[in-house]
Amino acid sequence: MTVPVGADGVLGLYSAVGDAFAGRRLGFGRRRAALAARFARHRGSDDAGVTASWVAGALAEIGLIEVVVAADAPPPARLHAFADAPLHGARMIGAFPGLSGQAADIVRWHREHDDGTGIPDRLRWDGIPADAAALGIVHGFLEAIEDPAEPREPLEALFALAAESGRRFRVELVRTFRLFAGGATPDWDAPLVPELPAIDEDAALVELVARLDARDPATGGRSERLAAIAAGLAERLGMEPGESARLARLLALGGAAENAPHDDFDPLSRIARERRAGVARRAAAIAASVPRYAPDAASLAASAAWFEDGAQDRPAAVLALAVAADALPPPDALRRLTAAAGTQLDPEVTRAYLAGLGTPR
């Protein structure tokens, strides 16, 4: 069984964030995208339909980013909040310049059930678009294969689908899928990335991390502040400002989990060190799962380390300082950053930052 990781960029990152919120293996969304696209082709979709199915498969669970519900919320409140996740996802895709409305509609209705008990609209029967119903089947199939409690072979997973035939899934589509994945298409699980429209990756990344930041009132708009600090600092240190700004934004990926702990703690406190390292590790893991951002993973993970722990790469040191400078209250910043230089923070980077503030050292 192959686990495809397409050579995709920011859409892959969106997909991985969806995986993280859904508590899935990072890369699940891109596997779902490839399978949805192949199944669409098998059903006779044209190129536009195949691309829409791929995009919808990749981003099917990105709407979870907009669902903020307390861990102790009563079950009905949770149900109603999560019922809107496909709708949020559809809106995000609809707002993406270059992505088709068809992909947005597939995401909107891929969790509808054939018997009319799905979300968000409780559509039923052929009122559910066939492409959306097909993505629902693909999702259910892969969910059964990758079930952490009871992983199944593809053949067993097909039986799991059959059990929901006529209830969650349309009978005719389940029949077609069984033929497709049961032998008629030998390469059904091979990676596939169709022709995708050109996407402004930087703008898309800004949008993604802004949504992540907005989940917690304490972090709203933080990534852009970090990016500005990191870019200015990188320039003074002769580094590439754009790369430092991107790295600063990617750190927000650490908040991509349903109940991510607040990270509005004092960045120089030893007590909060483990939590900060956890955020950085989670951000690094998500970045590492996407080829375009994989080279950034090491710096993201290292950004939580302290200077006294050993050599720190320069981008990580810049990021560590940006996080500290942003979080410290202005009256304390100068004193505490100066005190932390050489122990928690890279002294050279700290000097450059303080010099930028016009403070003589």
């Binding site: 009905p76 149900l79 109603h80 019922a83 709708l87 409305g101 068809q102 509609d105 909107r108 209705w109 018997d115 009319g116 008990t117 968000p120 609209d121 409780r122 559509l123 039923r124 029967w125 052929d126 009122g127 559910i128 678009p129 059959a162 059990a163 035939s165 006529g166 209830r167 009978v171 389940v174 029949r175």
Partner: protein, 303 residues
Amino acid sequence: MIDLPARTRRISGTRLLELCRERGIDSLVDPFMGLPMHLSVLKRHGIAVHGGDLLEWFVRAGEGLVANDFTILRESEVAEVVEMLPGRIYPADLFRAWEGVFFSEDQCRYLGVWHANVHALRSDGQTGLALVGLWHVLCHWLLKARHPDEMLDVPPSELAWHYIRETERWVVSNGRRNTVRRADFATTLGAVKAGAVYLAPPGRSGAKRIDARVWMWEAWWQGDPYLNVERLYRDTVFGGRINDDASYDRAIAEVLAASTAPYVIVQSSAAEAARFERLVRTGHPHVEVVAPNADETYIIGKR
């Protein structure tokens, strides 16, 4: 075997929600609501909703999902719906007419039991929820009759339990007054003031081509397996004489004229959009056509 037609209209509550929010509409009335899942979705998002229909079971469903804010069924009450209760005398032959034609003997017996149990429920809200849940069972059985080898066998009471529980999960309050009524369009539109009227006009022969899963459930609710729902529509604006274009247009125009809401939203298809746009324009100087995909076209008129 009964025909289950493949032409279900897509009535999306979330799509309507977006259309409403973009225009600041905070209340909506649908005088031909059908099964009011779309109203339930709108209600959940804070829109005050009102609906009307001529089929009683749609209205009962609305009492469970639209008008009802709090009532659900306790475990014991679900049990009292799905199982035969000791000491109660059931009309065992009530749905015998369907036996061997649409359903098995066992299924017909359950239909009779459920009919009696649901009619004995204490509140409109509970009745509506149980009725929608059990309707899913009827749909399941009819589908299984078409695909006997491709769907699991599930005991009737287990299926009923599952679907009633599934249905009542969507009971929610929006802090607004939401209503449903069994009435024709003029009564419904005259009874409530709303920011918008939503219409998904029935087809030209809508009453004659009504889905079996819809008319059978009205027959079940009324306890009359021979019930003919066509008669309910015969004297309405979309009754007998709308097969020609002019009559159909007159019927639509009559409904639109009865609306006093600032907005009217007519859901149509790409093929019929021009016709409805012309009709909506008569009473609404500002008309907008929103077509998110090939299957959904919304003609939105503003006074």
